[in-house]
Amino acid sequence: MRRPRLLYVPFWVTYIFLYAPIVVLVVMSFNAGKSPYTFEGLSLKWYGKLAGNETVREGLVNTLIVAAGSTALATVLGTLLAVGLARHTRSRLLDGLGVLPAVLPDLVLAIGLLVLYAMIKMTLGLHSVLLAHTVFGMAFVTAVVRTRLTHADTSLEEASRDLGATPLTTFVRVTLPQLMPGIAAGALLAFTLSIDEFVIAFFTAAPTTPTLPIVIYSMVRFGVTPEINALATLLLAVSFTVVIVAQRMTRLTESLS
């Protein structure tokens, strides 16, 4: 079919628009000069400075603790809920409830949790952020696993049940192994989202326990320094790697199954 040439203009504009700022950021992170705006030769000094930055390191540790904890909790709760929604109820209301945290604006969830924590007089800290991140992490795990369940072959589960297995046995021996790729994908999604999440953490973290996005937020507000360029480049490298590895992995598991 004929492709109008004119359409290629917005197509390329989109990609240039998406990547130009990122390229600039990466190049500037290797800047030898002090200014974050003018390039004065190659250097790794901002990476060295970053490595010595105590606040950034603390933020990173906090982020990883929260991400690991909330991912573990979200994966267990989300997987059970997905199986429950797909196999043990036909309620569309409960189905909707399962995806609501993913649709609800993060600001609304954030202030809701802040109000709840204040009401039960819970002190804020890493635990409050962890509990909060589990809410949306769980929604994404549920959604991914649920999709896999609707496409899964139910005859094995039926056979297991007909042979007298309890729901629990059927779940552990039959359903769970089939679901593993979906669970892994959901967990990876929850982990990545938790690491990047800012708005909810901003409302539910204690000032003494900021996560990395909160640290970045205050650095950016305080002023532009080449140190943030180095940090940004490292984060870009990590998330690009994770996305590409995940992409390869899903393609691999799909070709296997």
């Binding site: 197509f11 509990l131 800012f198």
Partner: protein, 291 residues
């Protein structure tokens, strides 16, 4: 015969028991979590909107409508209208750029299609604040764009801290969410329909207007929702790219909760935000049912 009825009855009761057990084991942990950490918080925010604020922050449990009458104050109403305007602008521009992009991607050979799609999603997987920060580096006073323009003898211009920059930041953050549903809708389209239209003598523009666009409308609506919803309640982009004044509802809500400590009024603002989003969601459901 008797024995078979008995075993039939026990099998029945066993299956009922296992059904109850199944629901208890699989549904209750997740649902309990969502009730405690999502529904109750939501209910609290909604109910706070009807209470009076305490003199030193906090809430006095005394029913009042004053938070809602305050919403109609031009100061606050303007902020809500400005947010609507900025989010709409971001959505419309993202659609105008995103539609042709998605269209071209859908026509690419299979191998390049995957590359193009991953390249659209990739920036989305990097930290949101980092992406906003990149624009500050590009656009600020002594930044790269001004340096380049200076070499041409132009400027320097003040690109940051205005509504245009906020819209740019919103588009940059959420454009992938526009392209993906559009791509899915265009990809599903049967090319024979377009060929038929062309064979019947329709010009490309006519084919687009009466075949392609109507059939991809659900994708358009979904993409618009995906851009509009996170744009409307955003407070980080207006803060970092807009110069820190309270210009969008998100900033106003944040300030009521963290600075002014007027939680009831903050809750009323949140309710207004939710109301706009619910109306949009209903519109989307209605349009996708019609399609």
């Amino acid at each position: 015969m008797t024995s078979s009825t008995v075993s039939g009855a026990t099998a029945k009761s066993r299956s009922r028991r296992s059904r109850v057990l199944g629901r208890l084991v699989f549904l209750s942990p997740g649902l309990t979590y969502l009730i405690i950490l999502m529904l109750i918080p939501l209910a609290l925010v909604i109910s706070y909107a009807f209470f009076r604020r305490g003199r030193f922050g906090g809430v006095i449990y005394e029913l009042t409508g004053e938070n809602f009458t305050r919403l109609l104050d031009p100061i606050y109403l303007d902020v809500v209208l400005d947010s609507l305007k900025l989010a709409t602008a971001a959505t419309v521009i993202a659609l105008l750029v995103g539609y042709p992009t998605a269209y071209v991607i859908a026509q690419l050979p299979a191998k390049w299609k995957t590359v193009a799609l991953v390249a659209i999603v990739l920036p989305f997987w990097t930290n949101f604040l980092v992406r906003i920060y990149a624009w500050i580096v590009l656009l600020s006073g002594p930044g790269l764009v001004n340096t380049a323009l200076g070499k041409l003898g132009l400027g320097p211009f003040e690109f940051l801290y205005n509504q245009g920059t906020i819209v740019t930041g919103l588009i940059y953050s959420y454009l992938p969410l526009m392209v993906l549903p559009l791509y899915a809708a265009i990809e599903k389209l049967d090319p024979q329909l377009r060929e038929a239209s062309a064979n019947l003598g329709a010009r490309p523009a006519r084919t687009f207007a009466s075949v392609t666009l109507p059939l991809t409308l659900p994708g358009v609506v979904t993409g618009c929702m995906f851009v509009f919803v996170p744009s409307f309640g955003n407070f980080v982009i207006p803060e970092l790219l807009g110069g820190g004044r309270s210009i969008m509802v998100g900033n106003l809500i944040r300030d009521q909760f963290l600075k002014a400590r007027d939680w009831p009024f903050g809750s009323a603002l949140t309710l207004a935000l939710l109301a706009v989003l619910i109306v949009l969601l209903l519109l989307q459901a209605w349009s996708s049912r019609r399609a």
